[in-house]
Symmetry: C2
Subunit: 363 residues, 2 copies
């Protein structure tokens, strides 16, 4: 498929639709590396199978798998999931996959952002990351969609859009010196608007406390529909997350979106902090070049890290005490969709959640 050069999606009439707009499919990538996932990635693989199964009744799912794992992943996944060979460095399709755009008359194109493993050699999570950086191009080839290759470093989890011109992101990630240090805030805004086909960037400050992605917005907040934002929240003032969520709420309530609307903010309680256990940490093979998983570390759990499929929301279950309340709030925000919860601690142990491991293909 061809690479589009010398232009931008915005100039060409393309935009990133919101996740709640109709889908043609969903991509995921199979977890394999034993230096990030405990017990040879077996528990995580079971969780990925559950997530893929839950999504595939709504959106056709394609799982990217290495050659080495191809037959085993094929055997583990339901028939309805398409399994294709795509080599990766890990399993975060939200961040390594393309951003798919729609144009007039149903045309589609994709953005292939540069990927540097969440910070390259300055705080990135593993090295090398060249296989991850090739994933977006490979997905677009299988989809038969032309590609914008951009030198701009961005992970898909660091942005959300409302599909009506508004981009939501965080300063902690997008302005981090380990992503695009040569660009000013204004130049970064310009890149986002040009490549997402949008009109306005809404900046939040920090992401979820101790989120190793440098504060991806998709773990903190998301649009339920234009004008409505779900925000992870805690009332516990002694928790560092409290000040982060208060700041985000203040910014959101003061903001006007690209269409001139104020925003309704719906608070979603965070799961109680549940640090990595000694048993969990012991299952991860520690190697040089990969962020270690240590017992006692806080995990950046958040219920807003869900995937919006056609007709259903697939959300993480993370805390027996708070799962029910969070599910009810999310169900209230998506009245036309069934909400399906999947026990997701094994995904969280790897550094993200259900939104991070999925990437929608718009219809």
């Amino acid at each position: 498929m061809s690479t589009v050069l010398g232009s931008t999606p915005k100039a060409d009439g393309f935009r990133m639709p919101a996740e709640f707009e109709p889908h043609a499919g969903c991509w995921m990538a199979w977890p394999e590396r034993p230096d990030n996932w405990r017990d040879g990635a077996a528990p995580a693989q079971r969780s990925y199978v559950e997530v893929a199964s839950a999504i595939s009744t709504a959106d056709p799912v394609t799982m990217a798998v290495s050659d080495a794992w191809f037959e085993r992943a094929r055997a583990a996944l339901p028939d309805s999931v398409r399994v294709v060979e795509v080599s990766t460095d890990d399993a975060w399709m939200r961040d390594i996959g393309p951003t798919l755009l729609v144009g007039d008359g149903g045309a589609r194109r994709g953005v292939d952002w540069r990927f540097n493993a969440w910070g390259g050699l300055e705080g990135g999570l593993y090295s090398p990351w060249d296989r991850d950086d090739r994933v977006a191009a490979k997905v677009l080839e299988v989809e038969g969609v032309d590609r914008y290759r951009v030198s701009f470093v961005l992970e898909g989890g660091s942005i959300h859009v409302d599909g009506e011109g508004t981009v939501l992101t965080t300063e902690e990630c997008l302005l981090n010196h380990n992503r695009n240090p040569e660009l000013s805030r204004e130049e970064i805004e310009r890149h986002l608007l040009d490549y997402l086909g949008a009109e306005k960037v809404l900046w939040l400050g920090q992401g979820v406390y101790e989120d190793e992605t440098d504060g991806h917005v998709d773990n903190l907040a998301c649009f339920a529909r234009p004008g409505v934002v779900l925000l992870t929240w805690t009332d516990d003032e002694s928790d560092p997350q409290h000040a982060i969520s208060v700041d985000a709420r203040r910014r959101l309530e003061a903001a006007v979106d690209a269409r001139g609307r104020g925003l309704e903010v719906i608070l979603v309680p965070a799961p109680a902090p549940a640090p990595v256990s000694a048993e969990e940490a012991a299952g991860v093979v520690s190697v040089e070049g990969t962020l270690p998983r240590l017992a006692g570390e806080r995990l950046a759990g958040s219920y807003v890290n869900f995937y919006v499929a056609d007709g259903r929301v697939v959300m993480p279950l993370l805390d027996e005490v708070r799962d029910e309340e969070a599910t009810a709030i999310i169900a209230g925000a998506f009245p036309d969709r069934e909400v399906v919860g999947i026990p997701a601690r094994e995904i969280l142990l790897g550094g993200g959640n259900i939104h991070c491991i999925t990437q929608q293909v718009p219809r």
Copy 2:
């Protein structure tokens, strides 16, 4: 995609269409291994690009490429060719790819034959071959087509069909003890008919002289249309190929196809034998486990090893003296198609030709 168990294509109403029936696409696989292709496979890659380009104006081409070669193959191929990651052991999509079938109402399924590198540890061409054996399943996943996995060993180049119930094959290959030694001739026929959705097997004897595939039919003869067979031919009685072609002609002229028709046989002159040169042999890295390429060895060149695309035939050019006559004969056999010749010695040096490196997807 699901694997169909406990049934056969014939029982399920599926059949392999002839290559001259309409196509949805064509698959190829990128040549990479320097122990089979000279000069780091660079000359072969250029030939594959020419073949892919010539086909892609008629049939949409997908090129299977390893992760290591992905970006370079993408850069070398025209935009119109889709490039997808599929690990292989070599580059013979005819033999490692699926056999695609059509059913009532346009449904498609695929046969994933067992592959053992043209003879396994008894005369096979390289070891290991596990990546090749996974290719058919991967192609079918990308195509979104359900799969029959068969324990029967077969390469796609060892069969031709007329699309009307007749299968053409050779005893040298199909009855070779290094393919399915536990099966009788009758059982092998039964497998072919069941999995190709056919009615009758026509047996030729030997394939082209010194063909390292154990005499694949696709290098010896093929259907131009139902009732008409092209056969590689030499008038030189001192050439061992003469007796092989005479025997094949005799069998074909005595045969009746599945519809009860006699066969018209069109003779296509073989290119003059042109052995591997010292320079050509010196460019191949010799390793244990891969058939060596030695100076002076005869190559199994044949003009019938062409690909029939929608509206065009893409054929090898192999001998300046005979190319023109062969082209004219093939053009006469396909009066509604443009015949495009591609210089193909670099492909022949690797052990096959244009039919061997392609696999059609019926429409």
